[in-house]
């Protein structure tokens, strides 16, 4: 590591309670962000931007939302794809019916729509918990997608039942190329991530964690369970909704409601667990693993094996490898990829001295 924690003392409360206490970490994060914002759009190929980076960022945002609910507030939910659908179709309808509305406002409002629905479907959390809650939230998943699919109004009565996302226009400028859309996604995702870090570190996050660790105790200490749980549902659904809208507008572009099916919800869940529950960085690492690993395996095996063996066998073999890696990961580090990163950093900090 390029700095050491030893011998450093914070001399004021404000410096001690900063979001990222060490200046070096702040510089590192700023450098990564600057690299993503100023270097990648000009150097990465269109395939990397729109085939890899955009979906990765969008799903990371959704995973972050899921992690807020599951990792921080301890409420197991399986409705994330449903909330994504709500956000995506809300954004489409805001843009369609209120043409004057700037895209960021539509995005914000669609997040709020998802949040409102999230609160509604979060109500059972006051009574049930754990796996039972997860399956109860599945009701929202199926119901939201069914409603959007069934009623033509949401899709402006398109004869094929799909929507075509409008161009993203901000202050009169059209963001249409992969690089431009990537920049929009990156800025929004970075903003919301910063917000999430603040929430997680502040009193809101502490309330969530109190509820997660022992809700009866939290209630006894005067915390309103109703408020805290529903707040977590609202904020989580907001993230899912914004993520879903971005996913639809910058990645899929033409969207069928069934694109947000239960399997997507499951994949978001996998991302959070494998990334690391209750960590911000875990959302990014997990979505990278679940989203990108099958793609890389597919590219890798086609490049390596080519036409030499039956393509069906290759595809099935990729699934096996993916599953094996998932199991190995859980055995090697049950707390997720975020913990692996943390451990690595710890080691680096002690380097060259070993424990």
């Amino acid at each position: 590591m390029y700095y050491t924690q030893a011998g450093r003392h914070f001399t004021s409360y404000s410096s001690d309670s900063r979001l990222i206490p060490f200046a070096e970490d702040r510089i590192l994060l700023a450098a990564i962000f600057a690299f993503g914002l100023f270097v990648l759009p000009f150097t990465a190929s269109d395939y990397w931007l729109s085939g890899i980076l955009i979906p990765w960022l969008c799903l990371s945002l959704v995973a972050l939302g899921q992690n807020i609910l599951m990792g921080y507030a301890g409420q197991l939910s399986l409705g994330s794809a449903g909330f994504m659908a709500a956000g995506a179709f809300a954004c489409y309808n805001f843009e369609l019916r209120l043409e004057w509305m700037p895209f960021p406002v539509s995005l914000l409002l669609s997040g709020l729509v998802a949040a409102a629905i999230g609160v509604l479907f979060g109500l059972p959390s006051l009574r049930v918990r754990g796996l039972y809650l997860a399956v109860a939230t599945l009701a929202s998943q199926f119901f939201i997608v069914w409603v959007i699919d069934k009623f033509g109004w949401f899709k402006n009565y398109d004869s094929s039942g799909i929507i075509t996302a409008q161009d993203i226009v901000i202050l009169g400028y059209e963001f249409t190329t992969p690089a431009e859309m990537y920049v929009v996604v990156l800025i929004i995702v970075a903003l919301l991530t910063w917000l999430a870090m603040n929430m997680a570190k502040g009193s809101i996050g502490r309330n969530w964690m109190a509820v997660r660790d022992m809700d009866v105790a939290a209630e006894a200490m005067g915390l309103s369970l109703l408020r805290t749980k529903l707040q977590a549902f609202a904020i989580s659904s907001f993230y899912c909704g914004v993520g879903g809208a971005l996913f639809a507008f910058t990645f899929l572009q033409s969207v069928e409601p069934v694109a947000f099916d239960i399997l997507l919800s499951f994949r978001i869940l996998f991302m959070v667990i494998i990334g690391g529950l209750g960590t911000i960085i875990g959302a990014y690492l997990g979505s990278g693993f679940i989203l990108l690993l099958p793609i890389f395996l597919n590219i890798f095996f086609h490049a390596v094996v080519g036409d030499a063996i039956d393509a069906t066998i290759i595809s099935a073999f990729e699934q096996v490898i993916f599953g094996v890696m998932m199991i190995l990961f859980m055995i090697y580090q049950p707390l997720g990829m975020a913990r692996i990163l943390e451990n690595t950093l710890e080691r680096l900090r002690a380097w060259p001295f070993r424990r």
């Binding site: 529950l277 066998i313 099935a316 199991i327």
Partner: protein, 301 residues
């Protein structure tokens, strides 16, 4: 009889029989959950793997009655391998971790099955006709398929046997102890690995039974994996830990979703049976948060 009443009865009976088919799938979940408090995401994949292997062995030329024990042996092997390679390294880990590991297992099983046996859709002929029993239809004008009745009987027998196993035998007691706490069970000398191996093998055999009956109805193919989704509301209503609850809940889910689809669905353009059972499950949870037959938990600070 009035044709409307007759139709209602037909929908009800059809739903109840469909529900038993769901119970068969849900049973595998309960077994594993009961013994290790793991939500086994791979149960659907196990159904697919088991029945595809069974059909595969038959295609290799094995007779039905030879293929059956061979597949059962294979499923026991899968259960043992799962215990040895996946679960044993994860003893005392959190439920989320174990859930994730079973998801990995699901990918492995799906991939292996497709690698070994290919992706073609197979037919499975059990020799049980999936057509209405005519004597019953003549008598009552209600169509009930022979296969459904057989499925109901199979499910009933399996549930009864497993319920006895859990409540009356020493193994069952051990299973329940393990479910409460891995560490505590180990410390009083319950052989965790044997227990788990047995449960996973049994779940594999249950998966084979479910797969054979479903495969006979709709072909042996990848879509069988999705049967797991149909089992979820059954689990919620029945409780994850109750074997008899699975049957009762299956009947409730089957009957209610069919009745909802037939009588309420047309007002909304149909297709509501996808979520109707989940809504029903949520309603149930409002009154019984641990499911119909689930163990009531007392929470202390």
């Amino acid at each position: 009889m009035d044709p409307e009443i007759l139709f209602f009865l037909e929908v009800l009976i059809g739903g109840l029989l469909a529900g038993i088919m769901y119970s068969l799938v849900a049973l595998g979940f309960v077994l594993i959950y009961k013994a290790s408090s793991v939500f086994n995401f791979a149960q659907g994949a196990m159904v697919f793997f088991a029945v595809l292997s069974f059909v595969g062995f038959m295609e290799l030329g094995l007779h039905f009655w030879l293929a059956l024990p061979v597949t059962i042996a294979l499923m026991i092997l899968v259960g043992m391998a799962t215990e040895r390679l996946v679960l044993r390294p994860l003893v005392n880990q959190s439920d989320d971790t174990l859930l994730m590991a079973t998801i990995g297992l699901a990918f492995v099983l799906e991939g292996l099955a497709q690698m070994a046996w290919g992706v073609e859709v197979r037919r499975l002929d059990l020799g049980i006709p999936d057509v209405p029993m005519m004597w019953f239809a003549d008598l009552t004008d209600i169509f009930v398929s022979t296969l459904d009745v057989v499925a109901g009987v199979v499910a009933g027998v399996m549930v009864a046997a497993l319920a006895l196993l859990f409540s009356k035998t020493k193994i069952g007691l051990g299973l329940r102890a393990v479910a409460d706490s891995h560490a505590a069970a180990q410390s009083i000398g319950i052989p965790l690995k044997h227990i788990w191996m047995m449960v996973w093998a049994t779940a594999g055999i249950v998966a084979l039974a479910a797969g054979m009956l479903w495969g006979a109805r709709s072909g042996v193919q990848f879509a069988l994996v999705f049967l797991a989704l149909k089992a979820l509301p059954v689990l919620i209503i029945g409780g994850f830990t109750s074997v008899p609850g699975v049957i009762v809940a299956g009947l409730i889910v089957g009957a209610s979703e069919k009745l909802a689809e037939v009588y309420i669905g047309p007002f909304f353009g149909g297709g509501i049976e996808g979520w109707a059972p989940y809504m029903l499950a949520v309603l149930f949870l409002m009154f019984r948060p641990e499911g119909l037959f689930g163990e009531k938990l007392i929470r202390r600070v």
